[in-house]
């Protein structure tokens, strides 16, 4: 289609706009929901990914986040609870030229769908998994989730939950995802940049987005998004840059052996030169793993940005390479030869 190619930016700059990615369906999330921001950034960033509109596929499971595909004017499947990574795997393996994205929530991905999540990461299949983490079950009206903090009082835990939560980033790192990042629904600029970088990565990409559920868990991430507190509590990771944070950029992270420390660089004891320099490509993944645990450590800022990325062959590449190698060695399948094989005998007329 000539029009499509022109639209895709081959020549005259007449590219898609975010409107092209917006479906005709009314968006039905609660007013004030963090999902709106994620949807808007995704629609904004999609035209920049140099992927044809018809090659996008959005896949989801069940939950508020799982309505996402209905609002993107792309191909999509709203599947069943927890199974989006597996559906996405089938799509991608069968048709690798498609760009396959998963929209999921903390219950969908980490409870019922935990198995599919870790196995997608393990295989390094080239799908992008967007976790809308609001630390609560929204669509079922307010039960604690596998990312809710211990002691959380919800409808199903009136006396406080006794579960330790998952750390989604540590889990993704451990399972072998090759692009691991975090962003915030209330930081659209950052979110858009991270979505773009995820879209450009080849391999399983995992993006945890802290997303506010203003109905059942309002303010869960306020300390990270409120103008007053954000700077002291968020660490913006940038490749090759020292880990610096604080209102006056006066605090940083220093590595003391394998132990990270928060240090003050305004009082002369430490300087910017003592700080840990972020390396997205660090091997092994232990550096990213240390970073992912900051959220559980008293006094540490919450890292956002790309914790780690790695270039590694993807599942669908290896899958199709094997198919074509075998076809080269054995020759293209010949049905007659296949059926007429083994020990045969003839019964004469």
């Amino acid at each position: 289609m000539a029009e499509i190619d022109i639209k895709n930016g081959n020549g005259n700059g007449n590219k898609y706009t975010s409107k092209d990615f917006s479906s005709s369906q009314d968006v039905r999330w609660c007013p004030g929901c963090g999902d709106y921001s994620i949807l808007a950034q995704m629609q904004r960033v999609s035209p920049d990914l140099n992927i044809k509109l018809e090659n996008f596929v959005w896949v989801s499971g069940i939950g508020c986040a799982a309505r996402f595909p209905y609002y993107m004017n792309t191909y999509g499947i709203h599947g069943i609870h927890g199974r989006a990574p597996a559906i996405a795997t089938g799509i991608k393996v069968n048709k690798p030229e498609l760009s396959v994205w998963v929209a999921t929530g903390d219950g969908d991905l980490l409870s019922i769908g935990g198995n599919h999540f870790i196995h997608a990461c393990r295989r390094n299949i080239d799908i992008k998994i967007l976790l809308f983490n609001n630390r609560i079950y929204g669509l079922t009206k307010g039960q604690y989730s596998p990312t809710s903090e211990k002691g959380k009082k919800t409808k199903s835990t009136p006396f406080g939950s006794i579960d330790f939560p998952f750390n989604p980033l540590s889990l993704a790192i451990g399972a072998g995802a090759t692009f691991i990042a975090r962003s915030l629904d209330r930081d659209p600029k950052h979110l858009k940049e991270i979505l773009k970088r995820a879209g450009e990565h080849k391999g399983t990409s995992f993006i945890e987005v802290y997303q506010n559920c203003n109905i059942f868990n309002d303010g869960a991430f306020e300390i990270l998004t409120d103008k007053e507190t954000k700077a002291d509590n968020v660490l913006f990771l940038e490749h090759g840059k020292p880990m610096l944070f604080g209102k006056n950029n006066d605090k940083g992270i220093r590595l003391n052996g394998l132990t990270p420390e928060v240090v003050d660089i305004s009082n002369g004891k430490y300087s910017i030169n003592d700080l840990w320099i972020h390396n997205e490509f660090e091997k092994p993944n232990s550096a990213a793993n240390i970073l992912s645990h900051f959220t559980e450590m008293e006094g540490f800022p919450t890292p956002v940005g790309i914790l780690r990325q790695e270039s590694k062959s993807t599942y669908e590449e290896d899958f199709h390479e094997q198919l074509s190698n075998i076809t080269k060695t054995k020759g293209e399948g010949d049905l007659r030869k296949l059926l007429f094989s083994g020990n045969m005998w003839e019964v004469a007329a």
Binding site: E54, G76, I77, G79, I80, I87, G90, V93, H119, G331
Partner: protein, 617 residues
């Protein structure tokens, strides 16, 4: 010494030994050689779920029965004529099945006090009178094998593992079979281990010549080739035929075959077989679990593959919700259920027909699927093509009910001419561009004359659309909670499946069409029922028979056929699941006949039931 050759029409042999004794291999080799010799054959492998159950125990006994004949045969036979028993436990568990006066070939070396104790024999059956009436041939199999291999340099353990080839060689001599096909097989199988190849070859021949020279056997036998319809044949198991059927369906539809599967007995061999055929573009995906297997297949279907998932009953239970998703999204999908004994883990290696109601009704909501069931191992081939055809034409999930008996059993298969199998290329929706309404105008839930919706593939410009498990509005496919629309769509999905009845063969009645008694069956019981009906008719009874290969929808003439008979007998390997469906659909009386032992019917069991019904008239 020259020995006389006696002609036989029909022989049933059972090999039995420890699960590590190689009985399945021995049985398979004997079967293939016998099929090559032109006999009709039918087999029944019967083995425990444990890979190597403790040696010498009765629960570790693995058996392989084969029936070969110069006539057209339908079953692996009721009672063996010959039992090859490699140890006391094998004798103990199989003796009761043996024909009165039948022969027992025994590895006498294994009848020591330890093995006798393990088999719970209080005294040695070879020395007391428990085998009176049988023709017992005691062969020192272990010692003869060891003697043959004394210079081989193999360990005692390795030598012991060759003794099944001695037994096989002996049986080849006894039934006048050539050993060359097995020699060829040994060469390929043990290519990487020349010492083992040489040892097995030597032992096979030693067994053969032992038969010739020993005075234990005074006669040998031969069974003339069967008069099968002309053509090229090969011996094939149900699982193998099924796999080849789906490769063929892939070629004929022009679609890549995508198999999402998780290993489970007795379906894993389909995954193994299909994994070999990647040069046909077959995409096998061993998933992390049953649910991922089916949902990945649904994803592959959405993107244009011929999508298949293979499992057994417990796996179907796990896939249930996803099958509902395929019903709702109206994507083509074939779900193979190689049924085994249930419920729960049940009897993994034993056969049963107890998943019919699960296939038919086992989903939330009104979720109709098409159901097919092949009747014999060879039929698994054609039914794979049929299941694919129905799934693609009607955009519907198809449940394919095989069972452990036909999956592992084998029979001669007349190889079809591939060019005579019709092509069935699906129509995908063509791309839309600006001139025909561009990206805004595709309705994924419009209908063709079969009530099927269009299949529009991701990657096609202008057809962007969203599917999902929420109720869909007619035509647009948008999410809809409208009460009238929901009822409309529920009825539409049901009607779509019902309409398939116009597109499948009608029931054929065989036997005495004007009889009072009709025997009906479905799936893998075909052989036993057919043999029972034939025998009953030979002994003077009037019986009609019809067999169902399409279970949902039922063939159009089902009611008309059923209403012609005063009595209807329905043998099933369950508590009467098909009878229940038939009774509720057509308000006819059914005489159920049920067996739930993890074993197929013997034809004599059904024949006795037929005689009892007719006699009681």
């Amino acid at each position: 010494m020259t020995k006389g050759i006696v002609d036989l029409n029909d022989v049933i042999v059972r090999f039995a030994g420890d699960s590590g004794d190689g009985m399945q291999l021995t049985g398979t080799q004997f079967t293939n050689t016998t099929a090559l010799a032109g006999n009709d054959v039918s087999t029944l492998p019967d083995f425990p779920a444990e890979i190597r159950a403790p040696a010498g125990t009765t629960y570790g006994v693995s058996g392989f029965q084969l029936h070969f004949s110069s006539d057209d045969i339908q079953t692996p036979g009721d009672a063996p004529d010959v039992l090859v028993a490699m140890n006391p436990a094998a004798l103990k568990t199989n003796l009761g099945e043996l024909k009165t006066g039948g022969s027992i070939i025994i590895n006498v070396d294994s009848f020591d006090s330890k093995n006798l104790r393990l088999a719970d024999y209080e005294s040695n059956p070879l020395e007391d009178d428990s085998l009176v009436g049988f023709n017992v041939v005691s062969v020192p199999l272990s010692k003869l094998t060891a003697t043959a291999l004394e210079d081989s340099g193999l360990s005692a353990k390795e030598i012991a593992r060759c003794k099944n080839f001695f037994a096989l060689g002996m049986m080849y001599w006894l039934y006048s079979r050539p050993f060359e096909p097995t020699l060829n097989w040994i060469k390929i199988k043990f290519k990487s281990s020349p010492e083992m190849a040489a040892a097995n070859e030597k032992v096979l021949k030693a067994g053969y010549y032992f038969g010739e020279n020993t005075e234990l056997f005074t006669t040998r036998y031969q069974v003339a080739p069967a008069k099968l319809s002309p053509g090229i044949y090969r011996n094939i198991s149900g699982n193998e035929a099924l796999a080849l059927g789906f490769v063929t369906a892939s070629v004929k539809t022009g679609l890549p075959l995508f198999l999402g599967s998780y290993p489970i007995t007795p379906a894993s061999d389909i995954l193994h077989e299909l994994s070999k055929h990647k040069n046909f573009g077959v995409r096998t995906f061993q998933a992390e679990d049953e649910i991922a297997a089916v949902t990945a297949a649904i994803g592959a279907s959405f993107s244009g593959a011929l999508a298949l998932t293979t499992t057994s009953g417990p796996g179907v239970a796990l896939k249930t919700e996803a099958i509902g998703l395929a019903v709702m999204t109206e994507l083509p999908l074939v779900i193979v259920d190689v049924q085994r004994g249930g419920p729960s883990t049940g009897l993994p290696t034993k056969t049963e027909q107890s998943d019919l109601l699960q296939a038919m009704y086992g989903r939330n909501g009104e979720a109709p699927v098409a159901i097919v069931a092949p009747a014999t191992p060879a039929e698994c081939f054609n039914m794979a093509i049929e299941a694919s055809r129905i799934a693609l034409k009607y955009m519907v999930p198809v449940m394919y009910l095989s069972d452990g008996y036909i999956a592992n059993g084998s029979e001669p298969w007349k190889i079809p001419e591939p060019d005579n199998i019709p092509e069935m290329k699906p129509k995908f929706v063509a791309p839309k561009d600006e001139s025909n309404n561009g990206h805004a105008g595709f309705d994924p839930y419009t209908r063709d004359e079969n009530l099927s919706r269009p299949w529009a593939l991701p990657g096609t410009p202008g057809l962007e659309h969203r599917l999902g498990g929420l109720e869909k509005a007619n035509i647009t496919g948008n999410v809809s909670y409208d009460p009238q629309n929901h009822e409309f769509m529920v009825r539409l999905r049901a009607q779509k499946v019902k309409n398939i009845e116009h597109d499948i063969p009608e029931l054929k009645v065989t036997g005495d069409i004007d009889a009072d008694l009709l025997v009906i069956g479905w799936g893998g019981t075909y052989g036993a029922i057919t043999e029972a009906v034939n025998k009953a008719r030979k002994s003077g009874s009037k019986v009609a028979q019809t067999h169902f290969r399409y279970l949902n929808p039922l063939p159009k003439n089902t009611e008309q056929v059923l209403k012609q008979y005063k009595k209807i007998l329905c043998p099933e390997l369950n508590l009467g699941q098909f009878a229940k469906i038939i009774k509720s659909e057509f308000s006819v009386d059914i005489i159920p006949f049920n067996k739930i032992q993890g074993l197929p019917f013997k034809s004599s069991e059904i024949e006795d039931k037929i005689e009892a019904i007719l006699g009681g008239k």
